[in-house]
């Protein structure tokens, strides 16, 4: 009998499997988040221009709908000491107009690895292995300078599928897929991890977008539309 699987569910299963082979556990946190975990602890201070980078849904009690899954980094480090390797496939929210590529609600894949000697080279290697396994075949990963309060250095992550078997639309094309960097020492110390001894990388990117690239889905709004015609096509 055929099984029907929502593409986000299937993608998250792939992510959990691929990353668990590399020693990463799944972690989660609340979707209604306080300012400390969503911004301040992540070195995005109040009234700082960096806050403009994420349009936020505010609640009357001063909490927010988390604008990214990064607060789970802080929550996890508050209760666990390194070595740490986690991924957070979770929902995030942005107060912005929607169109075929923008959605006010979306899934993000967050990753965090903290140890005494985790480097930017490990970030590159880890993501290369992930994209290779997720899209199938060989993948190149490229980093470009960027800025996020919670990482230093900060980078944008591009990938390029190079296998013969890659979908023609994606083959040999650089595609921006994530933001990443080395965890800012302030984030470590805000979370109770000693930045003199430990360092690590973090990354985050939209899961819908990865699904759209992989399966050729053209409209991000379908994922959360409740339309079963999407799920119906993802069958095994």
């Amino acid at each position: 009998m055929a099984l029907y699987i929502h593409p986000l569910t299937s993608a998250i299963r792939d992510m959990v499997a691929i990353f668990s082979d590399m020693g990463f556990s799944v972690a989660d946190g609340p979707e209604r988040e306080d300012e400390w975990h969503n911004f301040t602890a992540l070195n995005v201070p109040q009234d700082h221009p960096a806050r403009d980078m994420q349009d936020t849904f505010w609640l009357p009690d001063g909490k927010v709908l988390r604008t990214h899954t990064s607060p789970v980094q802080v929550r996890f480090m508050e209760t666990h000491q390194p070595p740490i390797r986690i991924i957070v496939p979770g929902k995030a929210f942005r107060n912005e107009a929607t169109d075929m590529t923008h959605e006010a609600q979306f899934y993000q894949l967050e990753g965090l690895a903290v140890d005494t000697d985790v480097t930017l080279a490990h970030l590159k290697g880890t993501l290369q292995r992930f994209f290779g396994a997720f899209f199938g075949g060989t993948v190149e990963v490229r980093l470009r300078p960027s800025f996020f309060g919670f990482t230093e250095p900060s980078v944008e992550v591009d990938m390029r599928l190079t296998s013969e078997s890659a979908p023609p639309k994606l083959k040999d094309r650089w595609i921006e897929v994530m933001g990443a960097g080395m965890v800012h020492p302030k984030v470590l110390s805000n979370s109770g991890v000693d930045p003199r001894r430990f360092q690590g990388f973090a990354f985050g990117g939209g899961i819908e977008r990865l699904c759209m690239l992989r399966w050729g889905i053209d409209d991000i709004r379908l994922f959360h539309s409740g339309d079963a015609r999407l799920t119906r096509q993802f069958t095994v």
């Binding site: 055929a2 699987i5 490990h122 290697g125 470009r144 300078p145």
Partner: protein, 796 residues
């Protein structure tokens, strides 16, 4: 920011690489490039400058510096390379500033100006980067801002007195801004007021007022350059909905070193294009900036980047970056030398490292500044310095280690501290027990309030509040070290370091990791080799929430349910957003039921495309009460017609039993049917309990995805008798004959009679481009039937 290629060229003697080459170098070395567009005889590059680099890069000079670094071409004209401009003062204008709102304010008086349209080159240059030309004086201010990054403003000196006061706005104060609009201000905003009558002339850092506008009749000009407070400027611009080129720069911070360069450049340009003579300048507040020192070791660079750079390579990169630096081979010895040179410097409680050092110190600013000189970054406050350094035995203390002490806890002293990121002032009380800046939650019981540098032989070098200066004394007899907390050692104090003197405009270089980023991006991230994380460092911790979701999904997927996902923001719920996009998305969902109801209705109209009846859906998601959130499940089943309700009951019962079995609980624990065909279940108790790994679940590989069509579908049936053929074989033939218009094929009936089997199929036709006509579909059906007959099968 719009950047002109021709403008950039003026900073270089040699011909610049092509605009495309520059865009590429910037993309991989510094900034995202939005567009590169040819415009008249210039090329305009739209550079996306993110908040960290705005302090220097929202200017052609800043971008030129980046090009010099990344393309390794020498910059020949750097307006900030010369020493601080020396300008004559005049007493014909007076300025005063509230330093909390504006740390430095300068104004220049220029007389005998002829306001006129700008010369062609200036008008074209501004228009090329999307700015409107106003007149030669205003254009000059705009030009200089785009050249070096410090905003300027010109007032008509005839329309104001000879004094300027920077002050908080009065609550409800009104000002008509350039362009004629009236704005109502609050005390949180800052104004530039006329010193003689207190009338506001401009909203500080945001927008000039109409009152002292420079017009064609203006002959005397007051030119302003200042450093308005980032947060105040940002909030003002937000509240007034007035984000201007100036406010964007101030909100990211403008170094106090820049305004004078701006004033001089602008006065020179005005003299050049509008005549006029500089009468002199006036200033208030302090433009003094202590050179910021930052150090890294080559080992630290490699440790973060995963590279194998050597010292020569790192130093070459620092040189390309224009960062002057020196190698400190023995930080401990050098620290002692530098610290001893400060003997006799006056004590000032709460002295600022960035403004007062090395002229005045308190105990911890003395330590912080001295350590910075040898490339060791230290927190500013005593408590954090104590936590940041490593405690050692008193007997092991060497010269260059630290001694921490605590004063009488009953004599608590307020300590006003300015936060680096926001400029916000916070008052703490000494002695402090809890980390303020370094490590949240870290404590030293009993507190700590004083520190000094151990010199050996019982001597300590410290900034003494009791003696009012930096002194050396025996710590055992010193009044400041009566209660010793600990002896501590700097981390890596013996490791050689490269110590960089940060250029004043580079407010983005504040921690060693900032330097590592500079080195990494100039070295080139493409040269960092992907490396696999070592295995065996962690063990997998199974996540409860994920386990529960996967258990539910597996159970229901295997019963043929389709998972849907819907919006967490809906039209009803206990919690209302403070800022919503629209009323139908203004609440956090308190239940998955309304969305499931809607999904059943909507999807039921597409039932033939979804495998026909019964329609079986589920959703797992977070729902919200006024003070909490939890994981919930909704199941939805829709079947109509003969015995529809019975079918629904049976299906829900089946799902309940299966879920109960999966979780090892009683069926009654699996929620309840809340309305016809919808069952909901709070999953939080399963998240909070239970153990074990994740269930084995199916994953989708290849899919020939077809976007859902907005056009109507047409349903047709075919039934046939076959002998010794499987349903799959038949389906294959139907698909082959029906072509791409077949959107769904569903076997809905099978029975056997004698040796023959009957299969009946629903065929759903649909196009993504148009509404299908009846004829078109009939043609497809004829083709299908012919193909089936050709196989020798009998259409019923």
């Amino acid at each position: 920011m719009m950047v002109s290629y021709q403008w950039l060229q003026t900073f270089f003697d040699g011909k610049l690489p092509s605009p495309e080459k520059i865009a590429e170098a910037l993309t991989f070395g510094a900034f995202e490039i939005e567009t590169v567009e040819e415009k008249n005889d210039d090329t305009i590059i739209d550079v996306k400058v993110l908040p960290d680099r705005a302090c220097y890069a929202l200017s052609h000079r800043g971008i030129a510096k980046e090009i010099a670094t990344l393309c390794d071409v020498p910059i020949m004209r750097d307006p900030l390379a010369k020493s601080r401009p020396e300008m004559l003062f005049t007493d014909r204008i007076h300025v005063a500033t509230d330093e909390k709102r504006c740390a430095y304010y300068s104004a220049a008086l220029i007389e005998n100006v002829s306001v006129a349209p700008s010369p062609d080159w200036l008008r074209k240059q501004l228009e090329a980067i999307g700015q409107r030309s106003i007149n030669n004086v205003v254009d000059a201010t705009n030009y200089v801002m785009n050249e070096i990054g410090t905003p300027l403003h010109a007032f008509d000196a005839e329309k104001m007195g000879n004094g300027i006061v920077v002050r908080p706005a009065h609550e409800g104060e009104r000002i008509t801004i350039l362009g004629g609009e009236e704005k109502v201000l609050t005390e949180a905003m800052t104004v530039i007021a006329d010193g003689t009558n207190d009338v506001p002339l401009a909203i500080a850092g945001v927008k000039g007022g109409a009152r002292a506008e420079v017009t064609n009749t203006t002959t005397r000009v007051v030119l302003e350059a200042a450093t308005f407070h980032p947060t105040v400027t940002r909030k003002t611009a937000q509240v007034l909905n007035l984000r201007t080129d100036a406010s964007k720069r101030f909100e990211n911070g403008v170094s106090a070193a820049l305004p004078l360069y701006g004033l001089e450049a602008c006065a020179t340009l005005i003299a050049d294009i509008a005549g006029g003579k500089l009468a002199g300048i006036a200033e208030a507040g302090s433009a003094h900036v202590v050179a910021y020192k930052l150090g890294v070791s080559v080992a630290e660079v490699n440790r973060l980047l995963g590279t194998a750079l050597n010292e020569k390579e790192v130093r070459a990169i620092l040189t390309r970056l224009g960062l002057s630096h020196e190698k400190v081979e023995n930080p401990r010895e050098r620290l002692l030398e530098i610290a001893k040179e400060q003997l006799g410097k006056p004590y000032k409680y709460g002295a600022s490292v960035s403004k007062d050092a090395p002229d005045r110190f308190d105990c911890s600013s003395f330590i912080s500044w001295s350590a910075a000189q040898v490339g060791i970054s230290m927190p500013r406050m005593v408590i954090d310095q104590c936590l940041f350094t490593e405690t050692i035995a008193a007997s092991a203390a060497l010269p260059g280690d630290l001694i921490f002490a605590v004063s009488d806890p009953l004599k608590r002293k307020p300590f006003v501290f300015t936060k680096h990121e926001t400029g916000e002032e916070v008052t703490h009380f000494n002695p402090m027990e809890e980390s303020q800046e370094f490590m949240k939650g870290a404590r030293i019981e009993g507190g700590v309030s004083h520190d000094g540098i151990y010199l050996g032989d019982g001597l300590v070098l410290h900034a003494s509040s009791q003696k009012g200066e930096v002194i050396i004394e025996n710590y055992e007899t010193s009044g400041s070290f009566q209660h010793i907390v600990s002896f501590n050692r700097f981390f890596a104090v013996n490791q050689e370091r490269l110590v960089v003197t940060v250029p004043p405009e580079r407010l983005d270089l504040r921690i060693p990791q900032d330097l590592v980023e500079e080195i990494g991006r100039v070295h080139g991230y493409e040269h960092i080799a992907p490396t696999t994380l070592p295995s065996g460092r962690t063990t997998i911790i199974f996540n409860q929430r994920h386990r529960v979701m996967e258990t539910v999904r597996k159970t229901l997927e295997e019963l043929g349910y389709m998972e849907i996902m819907t919006y967490a923001l809906i039209g009803e719920g206990e919690v209302t957003l403070a800022n919503s996009l629209a009323p139908e998305r203004a609440h956090l969902r308190a239940s998955l039921v309304p969305a499931m109801q809607e999904a059943l209705d909507k999807n039921y109209t597409n039932a033939p495309l979804l495998g026909g009846e019964p329609l079986k859906l589920f959703e797992i998601g977070t729902v919200f009460t006024h003070d909490s959130e939890f994981l919930s499940l909704a199941l939805g089943v829709r079947a109509v017609g003969k015995r529809g309700e019975e079918k629904i009951k049976a299906l829900l019962q089946e799902a309940r039993s299966a879920l109960a079995l999966s979780f090892g609980v009683h069926e009654s624990d699996i929620g309840a049917e809340v309305k016809n065909g919808i069952l909901t279940c709070d999953l939080s108790s399963y998240v909070d309990s239970g153990v074990g790994g994740y269930p084995e679940t199916a994953r989708v590989q290849e899919v020939q995805y077809r976007p859902p069509s907005v056009f109507p579908f047409v349903l047709r049936d075919v039934a046939l008798w076959v002998t010794a053929a499987s349903a799959d074989e038949v389906a294959e033939v139907i698909r082959g004959a029906a072509g791409t218009l077949l959107a769904s094929l569903e076997l809905f009936d099978t029975f056997a009679k004698n040796e023959k089997t009957s299969f009946a199929y629903h065929l759903v036709f649909q196009s993504n481009e148009r509404t299908l006509s009846d004829n078109e579909v009939s043609e497809q059906m004829t083709r299908v039937e012919s193909a089936l007959k050709a196989k020798g099968w009998e259409i019923r």
